[in-house]
Structure formats: structure tokens, C-alpha cells
């Protein structure tokens, strides 16, 4: 079955990104497809490559990047939500005249249409938020 996932809260502050990660891992292990995970609201903050959690804690961004690479998951960060919150990839940084970017490998910035498309093309949509 195709399962789409929406993550609506930022890393560490809320458990949403952790629960979603565990859920996606289990869904893949059970033989389901997770073609895309969409990051919205503060969920866009999961994509930062500048996070430096304590050594004895999980690295949420790196976990997602690795899982996506292994299973070909499309990690999409909402552009409108990301701009407000200061999450930019290199293209966006250049376009906006900013001197730095912070999006990690494996995540791509795109529009809300990708969320709707995920809703249309998957059999289930599961939301993790606050």
C-alpha cells in the first residue's frame, strides 16, 4: 500500500518527527511504499543541516536523510513555510539575496502542490503534528 506522511512540527521540540520516523521505518519493513514525506509548519525545521544535538541524543535530520537515501523517499519541505522560518536551499538563498543556506542533503524545497499530490496519489495519509 502507498502511504504518504505529513510532519508538522519541528525537531526535538515535539515528538512528531520522531514518531513519524519510527512509523515510516515500520511501514517500509512491512513492505509498504512511502513515496514521500512532506514537511510543513515548523516541520520544515527538521531539514536543517546545522543541527548539533548532544552526542547521546538521536540526530533527527541525519536519520531522515539516511532513511530517504536507503528507500528512495522524496523528502519535501514546503517553500512558503520554509521562507518564513529561515530554511533555504542554495538556490533559494541566491534568489533571496541571503548569504547562507541550511537545507540538508536529501531534502528538497517545493510547493504545497506536492502535499495535495501526495494526498491524491497515496492510499493513506498519516499526519504527525502538535
Amino acid at each position: 500500500m502507498k502511504i504518504g506522511v505529513l510532519v508538522s512540527e519541528g525537531p526535538y521540540t515535539h515528538q512528531a518527527a520522531d514518531t513519524a520516523y519510527k512509523f515510516v521505518t515500520a511501514a517500509l519493513a512491512a513492505g509498504h511504499e512511502v513515496p514521500r514525506v512532506f514537511f510543513y509548519h515548523d516541520g520544515v525545521n527538521v531539514a536543517t543541516r546545522l543541527s548539533v544535538p548532544p552526542q547521546d541524543e538521536r540526530h533527527i535530520q541525519q536519520n531522515w536523510t539516511a532513511l530517504a537515501k536507503e528507500h528512495g523517499i522524496d523528502l519535501v519541505v514546503c517553500i512558503a513555510a520554509a521562507q518564513r522560518r529561515g530554511m533555504l536551499d542554495e538556490n533559494e538563498a541566491n534568489r533571496q539575496g541571503k548569504d547562507a543556506s541550511n537545507i540538508a542533503e536529501g531534502f528538497r524545497i517545493s510547493g504545497l502542490g506536492q502535499l495535495i499530490e501526495m494526498g491524491i496519489q497515496t492510499d493513506r495519509l498519516v499526519t504527525f503534528g502538535d
Partner: protein
């Protein structure tokens, strides 16, 4: 038409204190272009999103409530508001802004998009959706 899914946008939070109401509306506007069957549900504090007379000058935050009135132009025709949620908050339909759409099946007559329904009917609306997006 077999590709048309029923999308339900579930709004349970008040405006301005958090961004969810505004960012929910941004999804609705983008989603309108996909020609799916769209409905919005306002339950619990979500009903506060539709109060008329919102004036955010004093808090320095953008007033996005006029966007609701533009939903008809995007062919969003169903804004379901739960009666029990209104009543618990001392609100009546008179406290809500007016949102209309033009009914193409009825000589483009202007009709109200806000439909106040009971909790039981709201449960039916929810159970009828293919995709529920919660904000």
C-alpha cells in the same frame, strides 16, 4: 472523475495565537487548483477562525480573515461549521463572516458557503472524506 478524491481540511484551532489557521488556508488555496472535491470543517476552537470584524492592527500580525471571503472565487463551496462548537463558545451564525460562492448548477446564483451543522452531521462529513488534513 475517478481520480477525484474528497479532501477534508479539519480546522480545530483559533487564529493568530498560532499559525495553523493561516497555513491551513494556504493549503486550501493551492489545493483548489487540483480539481478535487474540497470541504472545510470548523470544529472546537476552529470556529473562531470565521468570526467577523477581526482587526489585527493592534497586534502587528497580518489579518488573513478576508481570504476566507475569497474562497468562493476558488470554487471552494463547503465550509462546515459545527453548531455545538459555536454554542459552547457563546457564538451564533450572526457572529460569523459571510462567505458566498456562485452555484454554476443554479444559474450562478450566489449562495452561502458556510453551513452550520450538528456534531452528528460533522461526524458524517468526516467519515465521508478520502483524505483528511488536520491543522
Amino acid at each position: 472523475m475517478s481520480d477525484v478524491k474528497k479532501f477534508l481540511y479539519l480546522n480545530r484551532r483559533a487564529p493568530y495565537g498560532t499559525i495553523y489557521a493561516l497555513e491551513s488556508l494556504e493549503v486550501v488555496l493551492i489545493g483548489a487548483a487540483f480539481e478535487q472535491d474540497v470541504a472545510l470543517a470548523f470544529v472546537d476552537d476552529g470556529v473562531f477562525q470565521l468570526t467577523k470584524g477581526q482587526n489585527t492592527d493592534g497586534i502587528g500580525v497580518k489579518n488573513f480573515s478576508p481570504t476566507f471571503r475569497a474562497l468562493g472565487d476558488y470554487d471552494v463551496q463547503k465550509l462546515y461549521v459545527e453548531r455545538e462548537s459555536l454554542e459552547e463558545r457563546g457564538l451564533s451564525e450572526d457572529d460569523l463572516m459571510e462567505v458566498v460562492y456562485e452555484d454554476e448548477d443554479d444559474d450562478w446564483e450566489e449562495k452561502p458557503a458556510i453551513r452550520v451543522i450538528s456534531r452528528a452531521e460533522m461526524a458524517d462529513v468526516m467519515a465521508d472524506a478520502d483524505v483528511v488534513l488536520s491543522f
